[in-house]
Amino acid sequence: MGIKDLFKSGPSVEVMGDRDIDVPAEPINENQKIVDRLMPSRKKEETRSIKGPIGIDIGTVNIVVAQSRGKDIKAVRQLNAFFTIPYSNITRKTLSRDEIMFFEKNEKLYILGYSAEEFASTFGGDTRKPVESGLLNPKERESISVIKALISRFIREPVKNNEKICFSVPGEPIDRPASVIFHESIIKMHLKSLGYYPIAINEGMAVILSELTGNNFTGIGISMGGGMCNVCLSYLSVPVVTYSIQKGGDYIDKMVGSSVGEMAAKVKAVKEDGFDLSIEPRDRIEIGLHIFYDDLFSTLAQSLQQVLGSSDNIPRFSKPLPIVLSGGTVMPRGCKEKFEKALTEVRLPVTISEILVAEKPLFATAKGALTMAITEDSEI
């Protein structure tokens, strides 16, 4: 496995390929157009020279890897999913020829990433998820093998031993008995076995490192992903309070789907197709989305009230704090206003100055993880 694996899905398999973006590094240029697109082949050579610390966001829906490339940050996204098909020599050869990410186990071929989605739709099935509600999926027997394979095929080999890699982990859930230790340890062990020096970072904290540079890394970072919402209150980059609630974008899709009698996938498609929370809903699905977004933001605001209110470690802040929202679930327009409204219904022990939405919500966690890895690397 080499750096080539990072961009294994080339233009010839464009539907199943990695989603690749160029994000400028310090300072992040707010006006730069970020295109979620396929990697042109001529760029392959260019990216091979990438080295140094890595930030990786392992989410319920996506895995995003970020790395510095000169002044820019290179971020690559892949679907965190798999699909199995029966083993045959011909199929295996075809997959290899087409540079599709896969591995073999127990007479089965495990197709990974976006390719899995494509195969699932061809074979009329659903993709499966190695990660559910932010943590390794206990219902999938092969979740560990799949996540290991995805990571191994997604990041390059370390140039030198003990190269820094920082990966995101969720906060301890407050609404369900679950522990992040197992999840964190598995990923850490795997990264170590690949030759890296792994560092875990709370997802909310990563968002703060990515988005609140101008505020001395002081504020509240919320990463709203598919499986969960991760929250971190940071004071000068010290994570004071971290937690998660196990509700996220998938919850919205599922609840809207079951309320209006549609497939969750259809709801997700509507949600991701320019859906706008700031305008009046036009049909039943949109009404449902409005209702369950309100529900999610209300749960989030109440959890903030409950957790911050009961923590005795919160210091006195000399000025009000910003909240920054990030993650795929805050992609629709109007999320900020919805959350603002939900916050007016609760009383927090800290004063909020403003609510921000990350410039690139899908990549903020990986970027924050990369910042952490770079910091750790420079401290040695």
Binding site: L236, V238, N313, R316, F317, S318
Partner: protein, 725 residues
């Protein structure tokens, strides 16, 4: 470079927060979360400052704390603790100025650490230079006496150069800016209080009267204008005395030396400190005029009772400015810096009296005052009470403090801000009197232990004009305007009627006033709302139902307009507390604060929702405005509904439960409120300029007394307030 601060906190998060705050602000530090490691590091190299966090478990840190405070005499120990542990720490002899109880405030911890470090004036580098030089000199000594002499001259030059090169250390006095108290004024320019950490108000030296300066010179340094920072005659006489007594019993410090000590050194009696003091004094004298030095000294000195600086001391002991104190008073102040606690007139009046007279005697002997002035001053009494501890409009001031602390943090106490509030002190006095008289009336009826609160606001701007949060702030700081959540009873009803007006009803529309039993959806059982006198009038107009505060009719109306719409209206007019979605809420069963309901009535008065405003503007030390007037206003009631609700609230005064208010010679509007068992009595009302609300009740929610309704208890207070405006 070694770290100047060691932070020890068994709580890793708190420790990291402190460490990071210090680091970000340029103070190198080491953080330890384990006892063993902290102890090892401290023993290896004792730092100038240790921050010890005892919050998690004081009991297990006690021994460590004792060891540190006993063994590390040169280290400043800042102790963080639970507020409840403060007495234990005080008993242990921990310096309370350096004890910081929770709430956890990293900025304050930083300020304390910074101040402690600023006092730390290290002579280590000087000692090192000297040591090396002596070694080199001894080597040269055996070679050639001539070289030794040359080297000695070189060393002397080096020493002088070293002294001059350290001058920038006193350069901080150029920007001398002591912690200065912030002053809080009412809208009509009455000083309400000061916010301070150390009670310090800076006064320029030219504004300090001559006789005050002379009092200090007479007792502290009579040759001040003749020496250059060090008075050798005094030093020699002190040395002789100390040798005779075999210890340090007397200092020969000049005012300049005392200033150097206060600003840069620790209060220890050692030869090393004395040498440092002398060097610094010469530097200070070389850089500043005598008058400037005196001014700095008088503004820096500690006078006891938390008063730092002459101006704060004048206010604290005599309740007046330094510019206004007489010779006798000046003599007493001059007596204090030597031993503020020992000579305190509040602790030992006789000792203070004797010491003051000693100062007067010194003034006479040095020719600073005439015999006549001396004799007259001797007859003056010394102060017997501390001035200014209590402050005006205390509930309001505390309300402002909470808001300002959030915004300005420590700056509030240290930056000498002038805070102009919205409070009208004339109205505040009327409000306080009205509450006092209302309580007196209750006492006449044999009812005691009752609390009352009043809030008056300008409905057009949201400005708070008067706030009384209880009968005596000094007994109970619980603010019943902003903190007490109580059932408003019938005072809530106008929101039900406003909902009806918004839904097509008119003041003359009719509803049923009939006893009716409702099945409660939230719990098993039924509920039958009853009218106050158990009289039911059948069909009544909305106007009559509200004027007479008919419960049965109101619930009938609530059923018609739906409780969810009533909740919506309540939120619209600014009620933030949750309103339970059940019928009893229509009769005011959901709890809320007096402040919420008064602001809701502001919307009923003018149709617009305004938010509470207590600050008009804030001016900083450089006379720059930090905050100007601002506030939000949102139209929430349409003209038709507004006319209707005002008509109905007027009917309450003309024909309803608040007929007593007709004594006011202008159009007033309002509504009474009484809750079950007479636990709360309310009256909320308004005229063209003011909305005022009064609540009366007991903190424990026991009944005020039989038949003590809103009309009987709260309304008279409201009337007295509104009548006297």
């Amino acid at each position: 470079m070694p770290s100047s601060v060691i932070v020890y906190s068994p709580d890793e998060i708190r420790g990291r927060i402190i460490s990071k705050t210090l680091q970000v602000k340029g103070i190198k530090n080491l953080l330890f979360t384990s006892h063993f490691e902290a102890e090892e590091a401290i023993n290896k190299r004792p730092p100038p400052v240790i921050i010890l966090d005892t919050k998690k478990n004081l009991a297990s840190e006690l021994n460590f704390l004792k060891t540190l405070s006993n063994n590390l005499l040169k280290t400043t120990l800042i102790v963080l603790s639970n507020p409840s542990d403060v007495p234990v720490l005080e008993e242990m002899g921990i310096d309370m100025v350096l004890c910081i109880p929770d709430p956890f405030d990293p900025e304050l911890i930083f300020l304390k650490a910074r101040d402690a470090l600023a006092r730390e004036f290290s002579m280590k580098s000087f000692a090192r230079v000297l040591k090396q030089a002596v070694l080199r000199a001894s080597r040269f000594f055996f070679r050639s006496l001539r070289i030794i002499i040359i080297l000695a001259i070189g060393l002397a030059g080096g020493y002088i150069y070293w002294c001059i090169s350290t001058l920038p250390k006193i350069g901080v006095l150029d920007n001398y800016s002591p912690y200065e108290a912030s002053r809080v004024y009412s809208y009509d320019n009455k000083l309400l209080t000061e916010f301070y950490v150390e009670r310090r108000t800076f006064i320029p030296h030219e504004k300090i009267p001559k006789h005050v300066i002379k009092a200090f010179l007479a007792v502290e340094d009579k040759r001040f204008y003749r020496h250059h920072g060090v008075d050798f005659i005094r030093i020699i006489s002190a040395l002789i005395k100390n040798i005779r007594e075999r210890g340090f019993v007397q200092g020969g410090s000049t005012i300049t030396q005392q200033l150097a000590k206060m600003l840069f050194l620790k209060p220890e009696k050692t030869i090393t400190r004395k040498i440092k003091e002398i060097v610094l004094s010469i530097q200070i004298e070389g850089k500043y005029t005598k008058d400037e030095i005196l001014g700095l000294y008088l503004n820096q000195a500690y006078f006891g009772t938390r008063a730092y600086g002459i101006e704060a001391a004048s206010q604290a002991y005599f309740g007046k400015s330094t510019a206004d104190i007489n010779i006798s008073e000046a003599a007493l102040l001059a007596a204090l810096p030597k031993a503020p606690s020992k000579y305190s007139p509040f602790k030992d009046p006789k000792g203070a009296f004797r010491r003051r007279n000693h100062v007067l005697k010194r003034m006479l002997v040095t020719g600073f005052i005439s015999k006549k002035e001396y004799k007259k001053s001797l007859t003056e009494p010394i102060p017997d009470r501390f001035h200014g501890r209590k402050y005006k409009a205390p509930y309001f001031v505390d309300y402002c403090r909470t808001i300002l602390e959030d915004k300005y943090g420590d700056r509030l106490y240290t930056s000498g801000l002038k805070i102009y509030t919205t409070l009208d002190y004339r109205m505040q006095r009327i409000a306080e009197n009205a509450i006092k008289n209302g309580i007196k009336d209750l006492q006449k009826r044999g009812i005691t232990g009752v609390q009352a609160a009043l809030l008056a606001i300008d409905p057009k701007t949201g400005w708070i004009k008067a706030m009384v949060g209880g009968t005596n702030f000094w007994d109970s700081q619980f603010n019943r305007v902003t903190q007490a959540e109580r059932q408003p009873g019938s005072a809530f009803k106008p929101i039900v009627y406003l909902t009806a007006l918004n839904n097509g009803f008119k003041p003359d529309s009719t509803i049923r006033d009939k006893m009716f039993t409702y099945v409660l959806t939230n719990e098993e059982g039924t509920w039958t709302p009853q009218n106050y006198h158990d009289v039911y009038r059948g069909v009544v107009t909305l106007k009559t139902a509200l004027a007479l505060s008919l419960n049965a009719a109101t619930v009938d109306l609530a059923k018609k307009v739906k409780i969810k719409n009533i909740i919506k209206t309540a939120k619209l007019v600014g009620i933030k507390s949750s309103i339970h979605p059940f019928y009893p809420s229509a009769l005011g069963a959901s709890e809320m604060t007096l402040m919420e309901i008064v602001y809701a009535y502001a919307a009923l008065a003018y149709g617009s929702r305004v938010g509470p405003m207590c600050i008009d503007r804030i001016i900083d030390r450089e006379q720059l405005a930090l905050v100007g007037p601002s506030g939000t206003k949102e139209r929430v009631i349409n003209k038709k509904a507004l006319t209707g609700i005002r008509q109905m609230l007027r009917a309450v005064i003309l024909q309803g439960t608040a007929r007593k208010a007709r004594v006011i010679n202008r159009k007033v509007y309002g509504k009474t409120g009484t809750t079950n068992d007479y636990a709360d009595a309310w009256f909320i009302g308004f005229d063209d300029k003011m909305v005022a609300g009064v609540w009366v009740g007991r903190d424990g929610r026991a009944p005020i007394g039989e038949n003590e309704t809103g009309a009987r208890v709260a309304l008279p207070i409201w009337i007295e307030f509104m009548k006297n405006l």
